[in-house]
Amino acid sequence: MTQTLSVEGPLRPSSGWRFVKPSVLPGFNIAFGYTLLWLGLIVLLPLAALVLRASGIGVSGLIALASEPRVAAALKLSFGLSFLAAAVNMVFGLIVAWVLTRYRFPGRRMIDAVVDLPFALPTAVAGISLASLYAPNGWVGSLFAPYDIKIAYAPPGIAIALIFIGLPYVVRTVQPIIVDLEQDIEEASATLGAYRWQTLRRVILPSLMPALLTGFALAFARAVGEYGSVIFIAGNIPFVSEIAPLLIITRLEEFDYRGATAIATIMLAISFSALFVINLIQAWSRRRFGDA
């Protein structure tokens, strides 16, 4: 009797395209189905409803709405300040994360816990306390009032609120990466003659860049959607300190549902493109790192 070696079986190498790579882990079907259902129910369904509702006015209508002066000003303010706040957080969040991971000092764990407070605090509470602090008669605001610098009830106040709520995102994304940075690499750089700032600029920062970008994206996304803390400190003056989410609320209160969903859709589109670009940059840097 001749015996033939067969390659039949569940793990037979497949020559054609397959939806999923063969794996010894069972349960792909149910897990994947569950993932799709969940994402669809929780994320895609509301967004689809939003777009559907807004689609009544058409693309040209959306563009016309976006170029309406008050809407344009609000969108510019929201995205501009969110970008600024995320950029500030990227720098200072990195410093905070660096200090918390690289040095051992009394109270380190306390400070580490304080970083999470903006996560935990109801945003309205944060907004009210920030507003009272930075108002012209507040502790900090009164220092600037004599120079005619207005913080609360003006764009700088919005920026401060957005920085406040975004900080933990950068710190918490960068922190584990700094912990994992091998000390070897810094030592290698030093033995090759590089001084501290050269090591920082040429070795450490590029290694942290993907995590910093992720932190930036999270802080940015959070800032764009932030409502609670901003309305208390913003002053909400049209064309000056009115953010896009507030404009949506205003439209809703005027029973202009289509206008509200249209502005929301524009925000969604801009946010999505921004996150998409950040993801592209990350994919590119990850490919170079080779640990994709």
Partner: protein, 373 residues
């Protein structure tokens, strides 16, 4: 360049990592620091590099006292066990790094950088890999990139910390002989750390054996292997068996019967006899000097190794015999010593280790000079 290490000590939170180490590394020499983990060998290497500051003692680069120099000023080439390559830079940029970070005045022109990096990559047989990233290379290739990067700055001394520790056995062997060839070609003064005695003995011009923060012995691989000066070195290098003996009036005896060894001036008291597996002869009869029972025999490569329980304490002694000979388990045999070393335990807590000229009187002596103190 010659490196002189002068009474270097290093304490980490009260525990002594190095305890007064003296060592001179000649210009162009390849020296291996060998020792078990925790012996202080890596600490010593890092102190030479300036990555660690000694608690006391000095380092001299030729005649200059380099103790106060920073890492950057020392210009050493340091190769890390885990390569420590810059992951976001190509192989080429990794190697060029040390040249690019130089101040403008001493930085070579871009064309010179390209030329030098290319020639180093050729030397490392990595000529085609310049544009790859470290993650795309094998372990052996990465270690060669690390070596090229260290050599690019024209270091005064090349320091390698367990350079092959993270590689698999075959690659390690290949890279080992390749490094020896490279050293012969470039002639850098080099120091490397290893816990692998084969690596140390094969690669080094001289080996320094470290134990608990002290150098136990420095010498050529021949000297280290053939005439260990301390019990630690005897036990750490190669295989050896220990037999507890007593010394009385210069005579060495096991359980009261005097061993036919050349007497020497040794302090009376308990002592330990160290013997290598190949330095015995075994016979069925009773004309040897030590009697024992065969307990185990197994084939080890080209030889057969038997374990014999000897003396009242039934100390197990490992003996190599030709593969064609076999013994029955439990059979009494008699053993003669060809060569041995005895270390008396006289002295306080630390045993005073005396190397002696002990030779079996029943056998023709060969190379008696080997056991000179």
């Amino acid at each position: 360049m010659e490196i002189r290490i002068d009474r270097i000590a290093k304490e980490f939170g009260g525990s002594k990592a190095l305890d007064g180490v003296d060592l001179t590394i000649g210009s162009g020499e390849l020296v291996g620091l060998l020792g078990p983990s925790g012996s202080g060998k890596t600490t010593l290497l890092r102190i030479i590099a300036g990555l660690e500051m000694p608690t006391s003692g000095s380092i001299f680069f030729d005649s200059d006292n380099a103790s106060g120099w920073t890492v950057q000023e020392r210009r050493v080439g340091f190769v890390f066990q885990q390569y420590a390559l810059f992951r976001h830079m190509s192989v080429f940029e990794n190697v060029a790094y040390g040249l690019r970070v130089r101040p403008k005045k001493t930085r070579p022109h871009e064309t010179d950088i390209v030329r030098r990096v290319a020639s180093l990559l050729d030397l490392m047989q990595l000529g085609d890999y310049g544009r790859r990233f470290p993650a795309q290379l094998s372990g052996g290739q990465r270690q060669r990139v690390a070596l090229a990067r260290a050599l690019a700055v024209e270091p005064r001394v090349l320091l390698l910390d367990e350079p092959f520790g993270a590689l698999d056995a075959a690659v390690r062997k290949e890279l080992r002989s390749w490094l020896r060839t490279l050293h012969n070609k470039t002639g850098h003064t080099s120091v490397f750390v290893t816990h692998d005695q084969d690596e140390a003995l094969e690669l080094s011009d001289r080996v320094a054996v470290l134990n608990r923060g002290r150098i136990e012995q420095v010498g050529t691989p021949d000297a280290i292997y053939d005439s260990p000066r301390t019990p630690f070195v005897f036990g750490f290098i190669g295989t050896s068996s220990r037999i507890a003996v007593t010394i009385a009036g210069g005579q060495v005896s096991l359980d009261g019967s005097i061993l036919p060894l050349t007497p020497a001036a040794l302090p009376d008291g308990p002592a330990t006899l160290y013997v290598r597996p190949g330095d015995f002869t075994v016979a069925d009869g009773a004309n040897g000097s030590i009697h024992g029972l065969v307990t185990v025999q197994r084939r080890i490569g080209p030889v057969r190794r038997i374990e014999v329980a000897v003396g009242a304490a039934r100390a197990l002694v490992e003996i190599d015999i030709p593969a064609h000979r076999t013994f029955e388990i439990g059979k009494p045999v008699s053993i003669s010593l060809l060569r041995a070393a005895v270390f008396p335990e006289a002295g306080g807590i630390e045993p005073v280790c005396v190397e002696t000229a002990l030779m079996p009187s029943v056998l023709p002596l060969h190379q008696p000079s080997r056991w000179h103190a």
